[in-house]
Amino acid sequence: MARMKFICDAERCIECNGCVTACKAEHDVPWGVNRRRVVTLNDGVPGEKSISVACMHCSDAPCMAVCPVDCFYRTDEGVVLHDKDVCIGCGYCSYACPFGAPQFPTNGTFGLRGKMDKCTFCAGGPEANGSDAEYEKYGRNRLAEGKLPACAEMCSTKALLGGDGDVVADIFRTRVLQRGKGSEVWGWGTAYGKPTGTKS
């Protein structure tokens, strides 16, 4: 059985926000709600690092633990989802989540805080797979279409990997072993080759 996970390679992320755009477009996410976002450390300083963050679909999810109406559930594939018909929009999950994944759209009639919205690993929700009701509440269900999350699949540098944890870990491990570390990862030599007459 697969256990779905995201991995973001900080050496590769170029802060293009393509994953954010893909997510918003794929699921028709409203203004003010970002299921995924790119966080940059030491922005503007040489050596800055960026990482794409969304719900990490925790194995022991704190949002599930604190929800007073028990609207969360974990699928057999390890994806943490919730039922918006049960959610009361209290915001406890927002306080509990260390990644800031839960979002609260102001979609009520009077602009009040609405029901929680978050990354679904493109797995929809408890409505029928691929139905209009599911799309309206949770967005596309790509897993039921035999696809992986849109953010990971369209990442231009393949910094963001998504899928079965064992498979993406193998992809990442192969990559790290191939590219080495330190100055071998990036810089003049990697971009333009080693100067002639020097040993590699």
Partner: protein, 76 residues
């Protein structure tokens, strides 16, 4: 229009807008269907697997994930 009329009309308008609020009806969490059951519409379904077959869906996930692995797509 007098101030009183304006206030009454505004209050009525706000009250009517409140009718658009969706009712909270569900009491317990609904059960979800399995992803390998496939989507209700096959228009966007990827080829290479059979809906309802868990093993073929899992194989599809593994195959699809290799699309993110440039070392399997091109020899370094």
């Amino acid at each position: 229009m007098t101030l009183k009329t304006t206030v009454v009309v505004t209050a009525l308008a706000l009250a009517l807008v409140g009718c658009a609020e969706k009712a909270q009806t569900a009491q317990t969490r609904k059960s979800d269907s399995k992803p390998w059951d496939g989507a209700s519409t096959t228009e966007f379904t990827a080829s290479g697997w059979k809906a309802g077959d868990q093993a073929s869906w899992e194989q599809q996930m593994r195959t699809r994930a290799q699309g993110q692995n440039e070392y399997s797509r091109a020899t370094p």
